[in-house]
């Protein structure tokens, strides 16, 4: 047992104004009238979670159950309102497809842009360039602007960049549902290879079949709380029953 992710009593509270205040003017008026009422919304409520090295943990739950918030807290994007988050190792979140890419830049230029966004130094990206291009199966398209790519190509490039560096903790949010069957299989093989090498993976998906086949453990989130945690077969069965 070698914990790489530890969450203790983690809560995330959004303080949303009751009425949507979009503009500065409106805000100023509301504040002057002492009229801003806030509605508290707990996206995560007292979550305790420990993930060990080498696990592929599935996270399931309905929309708005707090799945993405949980990933954000782990990826250091969101500082929890309460509780403590501790992480050991580099977290690589696979970007939602297209985010961080620029349509006018070539595939090669986008690899450098995306790679540095993920925090890798330029020299390292340079040395991994052949590997990234090959896995993404871009071929001659590598020097064409990204706007000429098919959505499948963009997806392959994104996955390829994010997973070229053997991640210590890989975060996948609904990304395996894109791309064709062959590429999905390739992604799966790569994830399994990394798992065998000791990488930890967090997988969020609506497809409970994927969780069953890929994950060792699963967490069922509901209204920001952990409803159940256990072996993926068990949790998926429970989840399906409730639907």
């Amino acid at each position: 047992m070698n914990p790489v992710i530890i969450l203790n009593n983690v809560s995330v509270r959004y303080r949303a104004p009751e009425e949507a205040i979009g503009t500065f003017k409106e805000y100023a008026i509301q504040v002057l009238r002492r009229n801003v009422r806030f509605r508290e919304f707990k996206a995560l409520n007292n979550v305790d979670l420990q993930v060990n090295q080498g696990e592929i943990l599935g996270i399931i739950g309905r929309n708005g159950a707090g799945k993405s918030t949980l990933l954000k807290v782990i990826a250091r994007v969101l500082i929890p309102t309460e509780g403590r988050v501790r992480i050991r190792g580099m977290v690589s979140p696979l970007l939602e497809l297209g985010a961080g890419f620029h349509p006018e830049l070539t595939g090669r230029e986008n690899i450098f842009l995306n790679g540095t966004l993920l925090g890798h130094p330029r020299r390292e990206i340079e040395s991994r360039l052949p590997e990234i291009t090959e896995f993404a199966e871009l071929g001659a398209f590598i020097d064409s602007p990204l706007r000429t790519y098919s959505s499948g190509m963009v997806a392959r490039l994104g996955f390829s960049i994010a997973t070229t560096w053997r991640p210590e903790i890989l975060i996948l949010d609904e990304v395996l549902s894109v791309g064709d069957e062959a590429f999905r299989h390739k992604c799966q093989l790569r994830m399994e290879k990394y798992r065998d090498e000791g990488a930890t993976t967090l997988l969020v998906t609506h497809d409970s079949g994927t969780v069953e086949s890929l994950c060792s453990r699963a967490v069922w989130l509901d209204h920001g709380q952990i409803k159940a945690i256990g072996s993926s077969q068990e949790i998926v069965a429970l989840y399906r029953e409730s639907q």
Binding site: I79, V85, P93, E104, P121
Partner: protein
Amino acid sequence: MENSILATESQSLDTVEFTYDSEKRKSPALEELQDILQYKDLIFQLIRRDIVARYKRSVLGIAWTMLQPLGMMIVLTIVFSHLFGRVEGYAAYLLSGLIAWTFFAQTTTAAIFQSVWGGALMRRIYIPHTAFPVASIGTGVVNLTLSLVPLLFIMLILRRPITWAILFLPISILSLTAFALGVGLLLSSLAVRFPDISEMYQIIIQAWLYLTPIMYPSDILPASYRIWLLYLNPMYYQILMFRVPIYDGVLPSLPLSMIGIGISLLTLAIGWIYFSYQADKFAYTA
């Protein structure tokens, strides 16, 4: 019984080295500074993206960076040279102020838009929050350096002497950069919460341009206005520090430089600290 097991477990965890611990964080401003230095390659890529993507589909490409201020200068010179005809080499006077102003206006505006664009990205992956504002200022410095070419060209045409004082320019540019970054950071932290700050700022920057002696000589201002438009106008010092070594060919006076640089560093410090403290909340404003 169960409790005691948990206790020993958490004790052993305390000896483990964590890469990230939400409870053990340094001061946000320092942490931000440390992170941005680690991400310097990203800054370079973002600057490159801004410059390359902008001109990718244009024939003249990067030449536009030099043609733009030149075009603006020609229009304004035609309009104003009669009015301010007594200003020697009016075109050079105008252009030297205009270039510094354009840098400030463009980079602060870009910083706001970049923060909003980057905000979407920063809700998904960790990137130092200052990366986008810093990169837009960096893009501005590249453009500013390029627009020195048409400026020197105009100086030569008007037969104005170019002196050693021009070597002071890097200091002027650094001061201007620090000021622009400070203002850009302050505006960005507001714009993430209130998107219409950027619209409001467009009006302010327009007014500010006309209230700063860029198109007109400062001595036409009545004495009663001077304290407001000159001495209390931080851009007045920045413009002078940039203009004097080129147009007048002399070093800016020591008090002027001290005040100018002082204002810049103070603005940068305030902007940086405020922005870093606000940055944790950015992800909450979904």
